[in-house]
Amino acid sequence: MTHALSLGFVLFALWCVLSGYLRPMLLGLGLLSCAFVVFIALRMDLVDREWRPIHLLFGRVLGYWPWLMLQIVWSNVDVVRRILDPRLPISPTLIWVKASQHTDIGRVTYANSITITPGTLAMKLQGDQILVHALTREGAEALAGGEMDRRVTLLEKHS
């Protein structure tokens, strides 16, 4: 029940931010539509299952995101340099990396972090192994070093 209430609260906050009008009639319509969405979510049995990541989101993620942003900028610079180089110095590599996370959400976070960094792309998840396509051999080796894996696992442990 608390999950449903917090979902409704977040939805209503989103409504207020997006609409920007604070007249009673529009707020009432917003309340009505939020209640309807929460009702549908309850009926589809989505609320309790999908709402769990919230503790992970506000825990250590705030410390992880700046590091991830830095990684993204760095690999962007690398990929841009390689695309603009007339010799096109790429060496596409396939590699299996180990995901040492225990929960699904941790593994999904890891796979998404791999994919969002340009130069590496998670293609397949099988057990605790992820098949990664890397644009360069150096990128694949850097990923196999396991720095990102360690950080995501740390994220999970804290929650």
């Binding site: 931010v17 962007n76 790429i90 796979a111």
Partner: protein
């Protein structure tokens, strides 16, 4: 003075974003096979879109427009890797094989 610095920062970000979009487009045309092209699309989706939207955010200041821009950025950061992963998995499932190995020798022998 602070206004000038603010504007310069925002313009730099807009230009960086535009440059990254162009490079992403060039990469999309230049790279040899599908799986490498996904990386070029990644440049567009992260750096290009991110830099342009943050640049717009600096122009908007603390308004409702800024909040909407933050929502767009967050949404893109969550969905673009999902879409790329789904694409790669579908291509793998559909029997597309990635071209591996050193591309450098290939292009050298061609020229």
């Amino acid at each position: 003075m602070i206004e000038l610095i603010w504007n310069a920062l925002s313009w730099t970000l807009l230009l960086t974003g535009g440059f990254c979009l162009l490079v992403g487009g060039i990469g999309l045309l230049r790279l040899p096979d599908f799986f490498t092209r996904v990386h070029a699309a990644g440049v567009t989706d992260t750096m290009g879109a991110g830099a342009i939207l943050v640049g717009l955010m600096l122009q908007a200041g603390l308004t409702q427009a800024s909040i909407k821009l933050v929502l767009i950025i967050l949404f893109m950061l969550f969905t673009s890797p999902t879409a790329s992963h789904a694409l790669a998995q579908a291509a793998l499932h559909g029997g597309l094989k990635p071209r591996l190995g050193e591309q450098r020798e290939d292009s050298r022998s061609n020229t």
